[in-house]
């Protein structure tokens, strides 16, 4: 199917009234939770995942994807007006966005971030459209050893880009893998680590796990201290940036779009890293780097564009290879699996309507978001005033109901609470949950391809090195491990022998 026919058939799916409604619901909820600090897209998507059981797969993906890119729009509002990132990917927007608001320029700051997000988001969907099919066709030709090596490479890149310690990220990945092996073994059917629990026979549920790790542990972290926050009081006027603002922003928006899209494809890249890299680049190329941190519009336009462009990029490996590049994509992969579909080259070739429907809905979703975030900005400012003491019980309730309603099984509620505690403790010791969830999702794929490859080669590991694609992926993985180990060894050495 060529792109033009694909898009037309996609729009036919996306403009069906129910799909339009789900797209709107998705982007609306996305903006809402983006604006509200204390709950992110991963937690929200897992809470809403059980509600998508009754929907068609395409509607479910349209809504869940809407939450993700919608959250990127909403996050900037809180960064600009409250100086607290509504979303992790809007952290850098606080630096200049809040300063602009303090100077009475909250309007243009909000305006340029919505417009930049729209441009970044839309162009990244175009990129996604052009890249997925060639990649998927190439992926059809690869076998278990290549898949195993690609997953290994993805995870090594993830570790390499980890924000905190490399070793902690590796530990989290290993724990994620171990957790993914709970349940029946797929070749022998033998039960592993179930300890007599019938609930665990199907493995640990993704939904209770993610809800606990991203919903409950976030709540526990937030209620540690005082619950109230101060909202910067300002009158928002002139949302549309003036000519000078545009002149200064057009470069950052263009660079942010390209950078965000490609960083989004890389495992572990995603919106957060794109926004940081974009800010760094803008500061470096600017003629007035001294203005950064004091309200430079480039510092808002670049990162806000980049984080939206990264959402589109993230869909590339998911649709083409079935490999999620970040935790939100992992949840989307989970959503596909719940509907009995496994994303990857065969899915988009056999069910093109699903892929094109989702793509077309993203165009419309971005347009809806532009309308939601510019004329309706006043609504979101009001939302910001909802105190956390009211939100918190609601988040707890949604997590409880969500985990119960999957199978009407109380054991899953208990599993969710346990993961909430685990996530909270992990945060206290500065371990990130995201690599664990990603490894948990990729675990079965990795194990299946690893075992199949070894069966193919009768236990000979050279199978991973003598096939070209696999060899390149492995070489990159090994190279990254060596570089990361050397740099962390140097750090340790410098600390022990100063």
């Amino acid at each position: 199917m060529d792109i033009f026919t694909g898009l037309i058939s996609g729009f036919q799916v996306a403009i069906q009234p129910m799909n339009l409604l789900y797209c709107f619901v998705g982007v609306f909820i996305g903006t809402l939770i983006g604006v509200l600090p204390g709950i992110g897209p991963a937690g929200t998507m897992s809470i809403l995942l059980p509600l998508t059981y009754g929907m068609s797969p395409v509607s479910a993906i349209i809504m869940l994807a809407g939450i993700y890119y919608g959250a990127m729009y909403g996050g900037s509002t809180t960064s600009i007006l409250v100086n607290i990132p509504g979303e992790a990917a809007s952290v850098v927007t606080c630096l200049d966005g809040y300063q602009m608001a303090r100077k009475g320029r909250a309007g243009p700051a909000l305006g340029i971030s919505a417009l930049g997000s729209f441009i970044g988001g839309t162009f990244s969907i175009i990129g996604l459209m052009f890249l997925v099919y060639p990649l998927a066709e190439a992926a059809l030709k690869i076998g278990p050893p290549e898949y195993f090596s690609l997953v290994c490479m993805s995870l090594t890149i993830l570790v390499y880009l980890a924000r905190g310690s490399v070793f902690k990220a590796v530990i989290m990945i290993l724990v994620g893998f171990i957790l993914s092996t709970v349940g029946a073994d797929f070749i022998y059917g033998k039960l592993r680590f179930t300890f007599g629990s019938t609930t665990l026979m199907d493995g640990i549920g993704l939904v209770p796990m993610v809800m606990g790790l991203f919903g409950i542990s976030e709540v526990l972290t937030n209620i540690e201290g005082p619950l109230e926050r101060i909202i910067f009081k300002t009158r928002i006027k002139n949302l549309l940036p003036n000519l000078d603002d545009w002149k200064r922003s057009i470069g950052p928006i263009t660079r942010g779009t390209i950078l965000g899209f490609f960083l989004g494809i890389i495992p572990g890249g995603g919106p957060l890293i794109s926004s940081f890299v974009s800010y760094g680049i803008e500061k470096r190329v600017s003629k007035h780097p001294e203005e950064f941190g004091k309200g430079a519009i480039e510092g808002v336009a670049g990162p806000e564009t980049a984080n939206n462009a990264a959402t589109g990029g993230g869909f590339v490996p998911l649709f083409a290879l079935g490999i999620p590049s970040n935790v939100v994509m992992a949840i989307l992969l989970g959503a596909f699996m719940i509907h009995g579909l496994s994303p990857g080259p065969t899915l988009i070739i056999r069910h093109p309507e699903l892929f094109w429907g989702a793509i077309s809905s993203m165009y419309m979703g971005n347009f809806m978001l532009l309308l939601l975030n510019l004329p309706l900005i006043g609504l979101w400012v009001k939302v910001l005033k909802i105190p956390y003491r009211i939100l918190m019980p609601l988040i707890v309730l949604f997590c409880l109901i969500g985990s119960y309603s999957i199978n009407n099984n109380l054991t899953e509620v208990i599993i969710m609470i346990i993961f909430g505690i685990v996530g909270y403790i992990l945060r206290k010791f500065e371990y990130e949950e995201a690599p664990m969830v990603l490894a948990f999702i990729l675990g079965p794929l990795l194990e299946k391809n690893f075992r199949q490859s070894l069966i193919m080669s009768s236990g000979d590991f050279s199978i991973f090195f003598n096939r070209p694609i696999s060899a390149v992926a492995m070489a990159i993985a090994i190279l990254l491990i060596i570089t990361a180990s050397i740099s962390s060894y140097r750090k340790v050495k410098n600390k022990i022998i100063p």
């Binding site: 171990i178 592993r192 540690e224 003491r389 019980p393 109901i401 309603s405 509620v413």
Partner: protein, 155 residues
């Protein structure tokens, strides 16, 4: 190595040993025909090696670890955390016995009140409202909740 606390590392060592023993019992079979225990065993072994390495590094750099933990910067209100966790566990235990409406109402009232609502009327009213709205919305979306002791027919 200030950022590595020893308690979690010791936990990881114990956890990896536990996983390795259980995986070994499941059957490793060997690389030519990998058994159900092979993958978790390898993961456990890798986890063990990394944790041991970190433990040794942490012990060497122990002097620097003192005073690094940032807990002093923020006073942690443990009572609220325990209250939320206890109420969630209680919810899980009581949900099927008392039913959705009563258990959820109790949970929300407790949470609203303990999180700083000054007036009881506010907590009670909000809880009742949320219980009813959530019940109708989720039932409409196809979720089934336990009725418990309130067995209203057709409700």
């Amino acid at each position: 190595m200030g950022k590595y606390h020893t308690i979690p590392i010791i936990f990881w060592i114990g956890f990896s040993l536990f996983v390795m023993v259980l995986s070994y019992k499941l059957g490793l079979e060997g690389f030519h025909n990998p058994g159900p225990g092979l993958m978790p065993f390898l993961m456990g072994a890798l986890l063990l090696i990394i944790s041991l390495y970190l433990l040794i590094s942490a012990l060497f750099g122990k002097r620097q670890t003192r005073g690094v933990a940032g807990d002093e910067q923020r006073q942690i209100d443990l009572s609220k955390i325990i209250l939320v966790l206890a109420s969630m566990f209680a919810y899980a235990i009581l949900l099927e016995r008392l039913g959705y409406l009563i258990t959820t109402f109790l949970l929300l009232t407790l949470l609203f009140k303990s999180m700083g609502s000054k007036r009881w009327s506010f907590a009670l009213l909000n809880s009742a409202l949320v219980v009813l709205i959530s019940y109708f919305v989720f039932t409409f979306l196809g979720a089934r909740f336990p009725e418990g002791i309130l067995k209203f027919r057709g409700f």
